[in-house]
């Protein structure tokens, strides 16, 4: 608005001035000239006619006095007229007489631009020709130029007025508007500093200035109020955030505690059952052991589901990809699930159409979790017929493969309304049946989260009384040669099972739970590992400093001093056990916790509940 308006105004003023100047200096004088010439031509024509009559009379009637009278009037005319009589016509034309007598006019001048002429024919007995009355155009020019002086003066006056007008308009209107624009801009950027110039005017500009001043004051007050409110809100937000953080920390702490308190006894139960299974049992006791182990593992699975669900409410699923041969992996899942079908009437069919081999990068634990969840649900809700586990490659290239997994059952089916809610947390389609079926209802929600993390989507189609199909497809990158060789080596190491070479190292196990002490002792004895067990961190450091130990496995959560305190003491001074490797043993085994323990200085983390297989793998990993 501002600068362009000023430039527009200046431009307009200049244009108007130029137009007026052109009018006054060019158009008007030219118009005047044309008028004068027209007027002169008319007068000359009239005079030429009078002369023609007089010449005719003078020649026919020998009355030369009238002619002399005309000459007097021509002589007195200030316009410098010349009267000529041309005898003959065209090529015969010659100048017969001219007045004034001393004029140097020739016949050639008559048709030149130097003169404005009027002609009248004359025909007498002694003379035939043309009377020509002439006026030099310079005389008209002189008259026009005489007019120019007042016109120039008028233009200069107009120019001066324009300048004054332009200046007044700029100073009194445009510059205040520009200033107001700048002030409005500053107010728009919440810049309320700087004083506003006072305009002692009672016109519109003065009103505008007053309005802006009021606006600035109001905005500054409002801004101040807003800042106060904002500060108050920020305080409130800070309080709420602190409360929320506290609540989350409390929840995390509760979860960690619950995880530890549930897993620790489970660790004991499962380990003890494993140990008992290794002993000779009666057929009945053997069956009871199987039932007990199954129950314990189911309970562990449920606890893990709950912990996974709780963790994924706050953070996204983290996948740890490694190279696996997918066809073999599917076969393994099938074999594991096959045990669930045992003596039932339901047939379990594995349709593994994947090419062999097909090496892909995937998180095997999470993929197994998804497939086992789906297959487990299919088994749970199918009483007759079959459950089919299908795996096929929709697309296979050297870079990646799109793999389709499907679980088809002939179970009770799911109504369309329940299909929409199937992956809601805690929802079981069979809730209306007074919870006939076990489970937390979190399984499919977990399956959905994992599949989404793998950029896939679980599809469900079902018909009540007929059965259901759960399927999803995922695009998996092909593994390269290095990744495959590492996987193979890892597999080979796993396959190279017991017996372990004799363990020469000496282990110290620090654990406050007597139950866990007994279990660990039994397992270490079974594996032929030389060890001692203490009940606290202080006992542990005393033992370490006084006797040589090569490996320290310590519980974390202990009364008085924790496993972390023990780590610190060992780091400062391990005494006789200098160089011992320190491992944490804990039921709080989420990804973050494990990373934290390693960051503290633990060389690894054993997760409770430990099985003898876990302990065996651990010993192998020590090298």
């Amino acid at each position: 608005m501002t600068r362009s308006l000023l430039f527009q105004f200046v431009g307009l003023t200049a244009v108007v001035t130029a137009i007026v100047g052109a009018l006054l200096i060019y158009v008007v004088p030219n118009g005047q000239r044309q008028e004068l010439e027209a007027s002169a031509t008319a007068e000359l024509s009239s005079l030429a006619a009078a002369y023609a009559v007089s010449v005719t009379s003078a020649l026919e009637q020998e009355d030369l006095e009238a002619l002399a009278g005309l000459n007097s009037s021509v002589r007195d005319d200030p316009r410098n007229l010349t009267v000529a009589i041309i005898s003959g016509f065209e090529d015969d034309a010659e100048l017969f007489a001219v007045f004034p007598g001393d004029s140097d006019v020739t016949t050639a001048d008559i048709d030149s631009e130097r003169y404005l002429v009027a002609r009248q024919p004359v025909s007498t007995t002694i003379l035939e020709g043309t009377v020509v009355v002439m006026i030099e155009t310079t005389s008209i020019s002189q008259r026009v130029e005489a007019l120019n002086t007042p016109l120039y003066a008028a233009f200069l006056i107009f120019l001066a007025l324009q300048i004054i007008y332009a200046r007044q308009l700029s100073v009194r209107v445009l510059l205040p508007i520009i200033e107001a624009g700048g002030i409005a801009d500053r107010l728009g950027r919440e810049d309320y500093q700087g004083a506003l110039r006072k305009h002692n005017r009672d016109d519109e500009i003065g009103q505008l200035a007053s309005s802006l001043r009021r606006l600035k004051t109001n905005l500054r007050l409002k801004n101040r109020e807003n800042r106060r409110i904002l500060a108050s809100l920020e305080d409130t937000v800070e309080e709420r955030t602190a409360e929320l953080t506290k609540a989350l920390e409390a929840k995390d702490s509760f979860t960690a505690s619950v995880s530890h308190e549930l897993r620790t006894p489970l660790h004991s139960i499962i380990a003890s059952l494993d140990l008992m299974s290794a002993e000779q049992q009666t057929k009945e006791n053997g069956e009871y052991l199987v039932i007990a182990k199954r129950g314990a593992k189911t309970l562990l699975l449920l606890i893990n589901e709950l912990l996974d669900f709780q963790r994924w409410e706050q953070e996204s699923v983290v996948l740890k990809e490694e190279a696996i041969e997918l066809r073999h992996f599917v076969s393994g899942i099938g074999s594991t699930i096959n045990t669930l079908f045992g003596d039932s009437d339901v047939e379990f069919v594995i349709q593994n159409d994947l090419p062999s081999p097909i090496w892909v990068m995937v998180d095997p634990n999470r993929l197994a979790q998804v497939l086992i969840n789906l297959l487990g649900n299919a088994r749970k809700f199918t009483n007759t017929g079959s459950v089919t586990f299908e795996a096929s490659a929709l697309q296979d290239s050297p870079i990646d493969a799109e793999v389709l997994f499907a679980v088809v059952d002939t179970g009770m089916g799911i109504s369309p309304e329940d299909v929409k809610r199937i992956d809601e947390p805690y929802f079981q389609a069979a809730e209306g049946l007074n919870r006939k079926f076990s489970g937390t209802g979190l399984g499919l929600n977990i399956v959905k989260r994992i599949s989404e993390a793998m950029f896939s989507r679980l599809n469900v189609s079902s018909e009540v009384g007929v059965g259901s199909v759960f399927d999803f497809s995922i695009r998996l990158a092909k593994s390269d040669a290095v990744e495959r060789s590492e996987a193979l080596l890892s597999g080979i190491r796993d396959k190279e099972a017991a017996p372990l070479p004799p363990e020469q190292r000496r282990f110290l196990y620090v654990e406050d739970s007597i139950t866990n002490q007994l279990v660990m002792t039994a397992m270490l004895d079974r594996l032929g590992v030389s060890h001692e067990v203490v009940s606290s961190a202080t006992e542990g450091i005393t033992k370490l400093r006084s006797e040589r130990f090569d490996v320290l496995i310590t519980d974390i959560q202990m009364p008085e001093f924790s496993g972390i305190d023990l780590l610190d003491w060992v780091t400062q001074d391990a005494g006789e056990s200098e160089g011992a490797r320190v491992f944490a043993c804990t039921a709080n085994a989420n990804t973050d916790a494990i990373a934290e323990f390693k960051a503290m200085g633990f060389q690894g983390v054993l997760t409770k509940p430990l099985s003898i297989e876990d302990l065996t793998s651990f010993l192998k990993s020590l090298g």
């Binding site: 010449v55 003078a58 020649l59 020998e62 030369l64 006095e65 002619l67 002399a68 000459n71 002589r75 009589i85 017969f96 007489a97 001219v98 007045f99 004034p100 007598g101 002694i126 003379l127």
Partner: protein
């Protein structure tokens, strides 16, 4: 030959003889009524008559008096004064008057009118052709010329 024819022939002969005789007796007189009755030479008078001069020596404007086209002396005056025809004399005087060099002349149909006017107006100069010297007033100078 019939009588009337003879008589006609004799009359014509007598008229021609009269004209010849008359012509043999006519004289061109320049009449000058100069201002202050000053003596004027023949050449000065002729110069005025020919439009070569506008004014008398005294500076007063001269008025030239000439026979008109209707006068019997029209052509003769043109021949004696301008050595040209009457038409040319008229054209010449027209050009001179038109150019503003001289004043407009007076034209009369007879010598008597010319004489009468010159007698009356001082500053006039004119030409008559007669076999006897014209009767002029005391201030008028008569200059015979050939």
């Amino acid at each position: 030959m019939p009588k009337y024819l003879l008589i006609t022939l004799v009359g014509l002969a007598l008229a021609w003889a009269s004209g010849v005789s008359r012509a043999a007796d006519e004289q061109v007189y320049i009449l000058v009524n100069a201002p202050s009755s000053a003596e004027v030479s023949e050449d000065s008078a002729k110069a005025l008559l020919r439009g070569q001069r506008r004014n008398w020596d005294s500076g007063q404007a001269a008025t030239v008096v000439l026979p008109s086209r209707n006068s019997i002396n029209y052509d003769k005056t043109a021949e004696m004064i301008f050595q040209t025809s009457g038409t040319i004399m008229q054209r010449t005087w027209f050009r001179l008057v038109f150019g503003g060099r001289v004043n407009a002349p007076k034209y009369f149909d007879s010598d008597e009118q010319i004489v009468s006017w010159i007698n009356e107006y001082e500053g006039a100069v004119g030409v008559v052709i007669s076999d006897t010297e014209p009767n002029v007033s005391g201030s008028v100078q008569v200059i015979p010329t050939s």
